[in-house]
């Protein structure tokens, strides 16, 4: 299987804080790679650094064999990396439809087909099509955020804690959707909820204190009680 995204020893500072101190991981085409770790380990910053929102001072990010470390965020996005941030970043004054349209950029056949597809995944969005993004519930916002990232021909989706703050029944829906998206897109997922992560992840990367401590097959981690206890506080 080919490597789609390669993160090689990135260091990132936010202000004077040295947040990432050598993160290494890979996302293989067609797989769901999960970044695991405690709060403050550097998972979100890793995604932001890939997007160029908090640029790396050292190390490199390669996407499709091309170095994107120093590229501006909008270029990275245009190369086919979709990003669903933790706060979802819905445009509250735009309707659901407008939110989607902004994300679509163009309305060619392929894009419209993708829109059709995501609306099947998230039928709720159709119901609230003309409603302002700001008036959606947390779960609906999460679905809109994912739909928005997906609709623009993303070859890779970075999804940051999609289960955060959602009711269990909604988490189920979100998981179903990720499982569907997985069929056509490579996904990098940051997730605290280990049950969810273990169910949809193919591979894992464990991050602690801004460093990669372990990576491998999700199945191995599921059975490695020691590792889970040490870094995730479970088991």
């Amino acid at each position: 299987m080919t490597t789609l995204l390669k993160v090689d020893g990135i260091h990132t500072y936010i202000g004077q804080y040295h947040i990432l101190q050598g993160i290494v991981f890979e996302a293989r085409e067609g797989e769901v790679s999960v970044l695991l770790g405690r709060n403050g380990a550097g998972k979100t910053t890793t995604l932001k650094t890939i997007m160029g929102l908090t640029p790396a001072s050292k190390g490199s990010v390669t996407f499709h064999g091309r170095d994107i470390t120093k590229r501006p965020t909008y270029e990275t996005a245009n190369k086919g990396i979709g990003y669903v941030p933790e706060d979802q970043g819905i445009f509250g004054d735009l309707t659901v439809e407008e939110n989607m349209k902004v994300a679509m950029r163009k309305e060619d056949e392929a894009t419209l087909a993708r829109q059709e597809y995501v609306l099947e995944l998230f039928p709720d969005l159709k119901t609230y099509w003309k409603k302002d993004g700001g008036h959606l519930s947390g779960g609906q916002k999460q679905m809109l955020a994912m739909a928005r990232a997906f609709v623009h021909d993303s070859k890779l989706l970075l999804i940051d804690e999609p289960s955060k703050g959602l009711a269990p029944i909604v988490i189920e829906k979100v998981m179903e959707a990720i499982n569907e998206m997985k069929k056509t897109t490579t996904i990098v997922l940051v997730e605290q909820n280990f049950i969810m992560a273990s169910r949809i992840g193919d591979r894992y990367t464990l991050i602690d204190d801004g460093r990669t401590v372990q990576a491998g097959d999700m199945q191995e981690l599921i059975h490695d009680e020691e590792l889970k206890r040490k870094y995730l506080g479970i088991g």
Binding site: P85, R105, S137
Partner: protein, 323 residues
């Protein structure tokens, strides 16, 4: 609805022979154009500029100087509007490119500085501008009749409104709103916010210059006051009081402010205390901001929205707990 108001306003000067009202309404139309242009920055793109007067002044001076130096004809008038808009486009483009990368408050301060620079230029370049004293000039023959000028300005206001409405409702306009709401997020959707902000500031600058050209002709006089902070503040307050992020808001705001100014200063004849009308004006501002935090149009719209959703609430608006 808006069409009816526009037609009523177009008929107005032929029914009423009040010169004061014709002039006052012309003034309101001109400031509506300026305030709408400011709203493209403030309301749609989320850019706070303290230097908007520089584009207004640019238009005013270009038209005044050309009408004085070349000849006071309609041709020169139209040409001068074009030249003013072109100048405004070029200057707003370069200033935007250089400054819009900055965080909002730095940008606001820089626009203040740059517009200060233009004010000093107008004061010192006496051979052309005659400094602070300014100069009078003849308006084209066609505008000798105030009613003609009134009709032309009204027509321009309607055209500008239609153009800006198309602009903000276009896909481009949607991205502007997205930039205002969450610049980082817009960037990660693949847009370069700088690109959008610069174009918004060019559109706003060009329209402000148009308003300035009309303003100069309405007074047949120009001096450095067209470049002062007061003009920017007027535009800012008209936008805020009327309602940011709506195009009707700035028009309503312009009407309210111009009418209040006119009325309060008129009261001074009978009540000397109103010679200090600016104080009362301050009170009106404070009340407006307290009772209409989203501006008059914004507040009304919100009320209407609430009412319409209340009606069908049980069917279509899910409670948060549902999901």
């Amino acid at each position: 609805m808006l069409g009816i108001i526009a037609i009523a306003l177009a008929i107005f000067p032929f029914v009423s022979d009040s010169r004061t009202w014709t002039i006052l309404l012309t003034q309101i139309f001109i400031f509506s154009i300026l305030a709408m242009s400011y709203d493209i920055l403030l309301g749609y793109t989320g850019i706070v500029s303290f230097g908007h007067a520089m584009f207004f002044g640019m238009g005013a001076y270009t038209t005044a100087v050309m009408l004085k130096r070349i000849d006071p004809t309609m041709g020169t008038f139209i040409l001068s509007i074009g030249v003013g808009m072109l100048l405004a486009a070029l200057i707003s483009f370069f200033i935007g490119l250089l400054t819009l990368r900055l965080k909002s408050h730095f940008f606001a301060m820089l626009t203040l500085a740059v517009s200060g620079l233009f004010l000093v230029l107008a004061e010192k370049w006496r051979t052309v501008t005659q400094g602070n004293d300014g100069f009078t000039f003849k308006a084209p023959e066609f505008f000798k009749d105030r009613i003609m000028f009134y009709i032309v300005v009204l027509a321009i206001l309607v055209l500008v409104y239609i153009f800006l409405r198309r602009f903000v409702n276009s896909p481009f306009g949607r991205v502007l709103v997205a930039v205002r709401e969450n610049e980082q997020r817009t960037r990660s959707l693949g847009f370069n916010p700088l690109h959008y902000k610069v174009i918004a500031s060019v559109v706003a600058g060009v329209i402000a210059s148009l308003a300035g050209s009309l303003y100069a002709v309405s007074l047949r006089f120009v001096n450095t006051s067209v470049l002062t902070m007061d003009i920017t503040l007027d535009a800012l307050l008209m936008t805020i009081i009327g309602g940011v992020g709506t195009l009707i808001g700035p028009i309503v705001g312009a009407a309210i402010i111009e009418l209040t100014q006119h009325y309060l200063s008129g009261l001074a004849k009978d009540y000397p205390i109103f010679e200090r009308w600016i104080i009362f004006f301050g009170i009106v501002y404070i009340l407006a901001v307290i009772f209409f935090p989203k501006g008059i149009v914004g507040t009304i719209r919100e009320k209407l929205w609430k009412r319409s959703t209340k009606k069908d609430a049980p069917k279509s608006v899910p409670k948060k707990e549902d999901l």
